[in-house]
Amino acid sequence: MALLEVKNLQVRVEEREILHGLTLSVNKGEVHAIMGPNGSGKSTLSHVIAGKPGYEVTGGEILFNGEDLLEMAPDERAAKGVFLAFQYPVEIPGVATMNFLRTALNAQRKARGESEYSTPDFLKKVRAVAGSLNIPQDMLKRGVNVGFSGGEKKRNEILQMALFEPSLCILDEMDSGLDIDALRIAADGVNALRSPERAMVVITHYQRLLDYIVPDFVHVMSRGRVVKSGGKDLALELEASGYAQFEDAV
């Protein structure tokens, strides 16, 4: 059974159909890249998987470990192991990062019927992960993402990914707004989390990111569908020829 099974998914936002029958299957241990031009529906797909309000699913289904993901609230999906690394992580003034991390982690554990982390265990875990991502302690005391640079926000997303240990990570345009050094740090963090038990879906506009996070499979999206799938070489092909050929193909 695939970890994530998207079947003939049709999605509307306000009266406009964005996804017109998208199908995608992701197994444990695999890294899939989804590429495509702006407006092809890449981010919509990530939002619908995570459960963001405002999208109307008019057809198809999403199964996660065989369960109907669309029936679950966003927090239930998180507790089941779905993690979306946001393209634009929001700033939450007044909620200290450390407090947020502990509250979120314990909420997920509670939903799974696991015991809550003790404070020393939690601190130890956060410090270890933060250290490996070059995240200074004082950043953890600040409000969530408040005053963080673009690179710091992305590293904070990866920190959460490492803490929550999800089985499916969706990285939405992780490279946007990052310079090459910040990108390398972020990609190293992601690569460290690759595991046979975990799948990743890397959404990106540019091939560049895939030099750092090398995918097993590449899918090209255009106008709300996957129009071509292949191995990692497909990304290089796209870099040379652009997306225009697929726009015509639809």
């Binding site: 459960g51 998180a78 993690f83 007044g94 909620v95 947020f100 909420a107 997920q108 939903a111």
Partner: protein
């Protein structure tokens, strides 16, 4: 014409209350005259209503309907219930002064713990001391307001606290108002003077004992802060959900004083805290912050008049209201800058968070500036929780109510953080958390 009729209606209802109460009110002679005049001043409007500009969002004629008879002095059973309430709300290390149903309760207070430099008398004691020619002054202020006039007419007791010059109090003084009565009023009036170069922390708590219901509290605090003194005040109003609480603060502060005032209103069916703060000495530094946490059909009004009477003073106001269900929050802030009060720096910011479609918040900031070299500003916002923040938290595993609670805590936290005393800040945060938990 309406006004005259309405005045007669409400006026007479209270007149009988006043007539009934008169004999048991402390103070005779000149004090009784002052009470009668205060009652006449009240009678000119009766309960304030929406056609009185200062009360337009809090129409007591509609919300209160009538002034209830004064509560009887508490008996042993009432004091026992009050003791339980005091225990639950006492602040760590604070010296408690307890008023039960408008009467000072020495057995629940710890005057001995106050230490040197502080004297406490009861309002009753001072008003009844006929050797003191100035005793009637306790019932007079320069503020003209019907509910404050009613307070002067009917005040049964209160505390008169004097902190001597140069006293640094190591622990807070906590004034606890406990109601045990049902369908009765308590009218209290306290005076606090903080001597020159003194430092003090004052906590005020309004609580209901078990069995108290549908009561009305009318409280006034008249406070002076001497030159160079520092005062922190935290007021936690947690009256019964069907109670009325109208409180007036009349504060006058001297040169180079530092004031850090905070109020949290989480109780009461109908409440108003009206502050009249006069910065009367140059270089005074005032911070006055507050939080309203309202649900059900609660109505909570915070009205602050900050009067910059002299040059070079600073005032900062941060208000946060969280309004759920069909509750109604009001914030009226007026900053007055007198003609001579150059180099005034006055700012206020009020924000309301509306948690339901039927929740209502009225924000009315006003600046009255008569000087030309000043920095003044105000801001007001009202809105719902940010959906993008809620989704982010939920995508991280927080259930809806928990995600909301975290954001609400952060929202009110900005005002609560300003409380200087660690223990009191935690107490206020805890009160907010309790409110959020009760929300479910």
């Amino acid at each position: 014409m309406n006004l005259v009729l309405a005045k007669t209606d409400t006026g007479q209802a209270v007149n009988s209350v006043f007539a009934v109460a008169r004999d048991r009110l402390p103070g005779t002679g000149s004090v009784a005259d002052i009470r009668r005049q205060a009652f006449e001043a009240y009678e000119r409007t009766g309960l304030p209503h929406r056609r009185i500009e200062e009360w337009k969002y809090t129409d007591l004629r509609a919300l209160m309907r009538e002034v209830l008879p004064l509560a009887a002095a508490p008996d042993a059973k009432a004091l026992k219930r009050a003791a339980d309430a005091v225990k639950a709300h006492a602040v760590d290390k604070a010296a408690k002064l307890v008023l039960v149903d408008g009467v000072f309760a020495p057995e629940l207070s710890d005057i001995a713990a106050l230490g040197r430099g502080v004297t406490v008398r009861t309002l009753r004691e001072v008003l009844e001391n006929e050797k003191n020619d100035a005793r009637g002054d306790l019932l007079i202020t320069n503020v003209s307001d019907p509910m404050l006039s009613l307070n002067a007419a009917l005040a049964t007791d209160g505390v008169v606290v004097a902190i001597a010059d140069g006293t640094a109090l190591p622990h807070p003084i906590q004034l606890i108002h406990v109601s045990t009565a049902a369908s009765a009023s308590s009218v209290t009036r306290s005076h606090v003077s903080v001597g020159r170069d003194s430092r003090a922390t004052l906590v005020e708590s309004f609580v209901a004992a078990e069995g108290a219901k549908a009561y009305q509290a009318n409280d006034a605090v008249i406070l002076w802060v001497g030159d160079g003194a520092e005062l922190s005040q935290v007021r936690l109003m947690a009256d019964a959900a069907d109670a009325v609480n109208i409180t007036s603060h009349v504060y006058t502060v001297g040169t180079k004083t530092k004031l850090n005032l905070f109020n949290m209103t989480s109780g009461g069916h109908v409440s108003r805290l009206q502050g009249f703060i006069t910065l009367a000495g140059e270089g005074a530094d005032l911070m006055v912050n507050g939080v309203n946490l309202l649900k059900g059909t609660q109505h909570g009004d915070t009205t602050m008049v900050v009067d910059h009477a002299v040059p070079g003073c600073t005032s900062r106001e941060i208000f946060r209201a969280v309004v759920d269900d069909r509750a109604h929050s009001v914030f009226q802030g007026r900053i007055i800058v007198r003609p001579d009060a150059q180099k005034t720096d006055g700012k206020m910011m009020t924000r309301a968070l509306l948690l339901s479609d039927e929740a209502e918040a009225d924000n009315k900031p006003e600046l009255e500036i008569f000087a030309d070299d000043v920095t003044c500003g105000h801001g007001a916002t009202a809105g719902a929780l940010d959906d993008s923040l809620l989704f982010y938290l939920r995508a991280r595993g927080l259930p809806e109510k928990e995600a909301q609670a975290l954001l609400i805590q952060a929202f009110v936290g900005e005002a609560i953080e300003t409380i200087a005393d660690d223990g009191l800040r935690e107490a206020a945060m805890l009160a907010a958390e309790r409110w959020l938990e009760a929300r479910g």
